[in-house]
Symmetry: C2
Amino acid sequence: MTGDAPIPSRPSPPTIRDVAREAGVTVGTASKALNGRGQLRTETRDRVRAAAEYLEFRPNELVKSLLRGRTYTVGLLSSAQGRFSLPLLTGIEDALGTAEIMVFFCYVDADSQQERNNIASLLAKQVDGLIVMGGRTDPRRPIDVGRSRVPIVYAYTHIDDPNALCLLPDDAQGARLAIDHLVGLGRRRIAHITGPDDFQAVHERRAGVDDALAAHGLSLPPNRFWGGSWSEGGGYQAVDELLDHEPDIDAIFCGNDQLARGAIDGLRERGKRVPADIAVVGFDNWEDLAEAARPPLTTVDMNLHDLGQEAARHLLAMVAGETPAGTHRLPCTLVVRASSG
Amino acid sequence: MTGDAPIPSRPSPPTIRDVAREAGVTVGTASKALNGRGQLRTETRDRVRAAAEYLEFRPNELVKSLLRGRTYTVGLLSSAQGRFSLPLLTGIEDALGTAEIMVFFCYVDADSQQERNNIASLLAKQVDGLIVMGGRTDPRRPIDVGRSRVPIVYAYTHIDDPNALCLLPDDAQGARLAIDHLVGLGRRRIAHITGPDDFQAVHERRAGVDDALAAHGLSLPPNRFWGGSWSEGGGYQAVDELLDHEPDIDAIFCGNDQLARGAIDGLRERGKRVPADIAVVGFDNWEDLAEAARPPLTTVDMNLHDLGQEAARHLLAMVAGETPAGTHRLPCTLVVRASSG
């Protein structure tokens, strides 16, 4: 794939020296003109700026960083490879881009040697701060930055340290939204199907279900609960098992959208109409899946783009000297589509 | 969220001066010991290294970069927000991480002011190279880096310049794999359903279908072709229309996995057995979707993680002075599941 043409020598980028020569001034004058310092005639300043523009002179950020003691860079350690990572990532990007800060992106397994190597590289690059992004909301071990006091924000994961700042979606509040919505539609025999027991999100969402049902004088009997997987196949199987024991269920709140898709398919094949007989609500607002459901799926949105933005804004505040701390849960919203009529 | 505790002063990271003081040597000796230069007693060298380790001294990468003329950073301009971007991104990361190069990630709209701003920021940070990642394989305008000779690789997009290096999946070859597989299973009346006409991938895949069918003495009559959307709803509708005109179709090759999911659902509801009556093959190997299909979906994988790795490897070769060029299409593979028996 390498061409036969001679390798062109790559010209060095123009320096302040080249700008001074082009403008016919000393390096000191060129520097003053470009930095807006010192007493210079307008004509001189304009000539230097025109020369800089003509030469496409870009002040060397590395030199500027050394002088300022800040690099205007942030390290992002992401152990999230799934679909959750993209809205978080673009949210972080949006907030930092506005502040003209660039993001070093490192995809790593949490708590691995690779993560430790990346942390060392980021610290050597003198990043102004670190964002640690999880692949699930469960707790993780703190990252080890040695004696460095670099600010750290944990997003979509959390650690057991009251001085750390951790941002999570409010899973329990999201589940309450779903239940309140179903009860508001007149549903009373509500079932809940959800993922594996070792996800903290499963327990948070279940707590929200129980709270909201209790507030309406309702409850979740064991026959209306199914847990075990996050897959479409799980939702399909859950519907079969639930309806065998509780044929009069009038709504199902699902712990994610894949479960909801499987549940809707299972209900259709058992001759149940959604939402006329049984309303279905999911969790995640995974749009490709939610909109393609038949009928389209009502679901809880974790607003992960906003969560990414918040993480970045907090990091900027910490770089500026603030010391926010604690584990904060940010609100979810409900996106209503036809599956709940 | 800001605590009331006094803001702790952030201690500066240790310098070579601190290491020298700790080891009881001059700064020059400490520098020689850490860089492995000069004539020093082993005992002195060991004492300096122990002091550096104790103080967690990290040589300032910014200073090293200025001296070397390379920053060991790469800029990634991504206009891909969809699921395709993650395997590309992790592939790029894997290849660059091995070379101890860090990635500045910029999520941008192609050809926007925001993209131009990010390019200026990346050039000011003296990145060693740029990777431009598309959201779809269609051509785009070249990015403008002015007079800079920074190496650039285009991945999952391409530009109209024979001197540029562009990497794409081989859509036509992927489609040929699917058709050869179906013909090998004895299918002869093969239909093709696909996305909107303004995607280059639609035309590449169609060309592969025509070539492979012709090689087997078969063809694609107009009644066995449907194009218009990438969605599940499209696949569901396509099956309805195709079977009304051509009830004896024995296989459907779909331009993506969402179309294939919709097609499988449509076939089931029309009483057709997959694959006994009609085999179905998708494109993308979107695992969440493909594995949850009933039956699980045979589909073409674009190997985007490998494509990301290749893009990074080529960029490293260019940084080292090589000048690869041209638009290269990397091979797809077929993942066989139950939908094609």
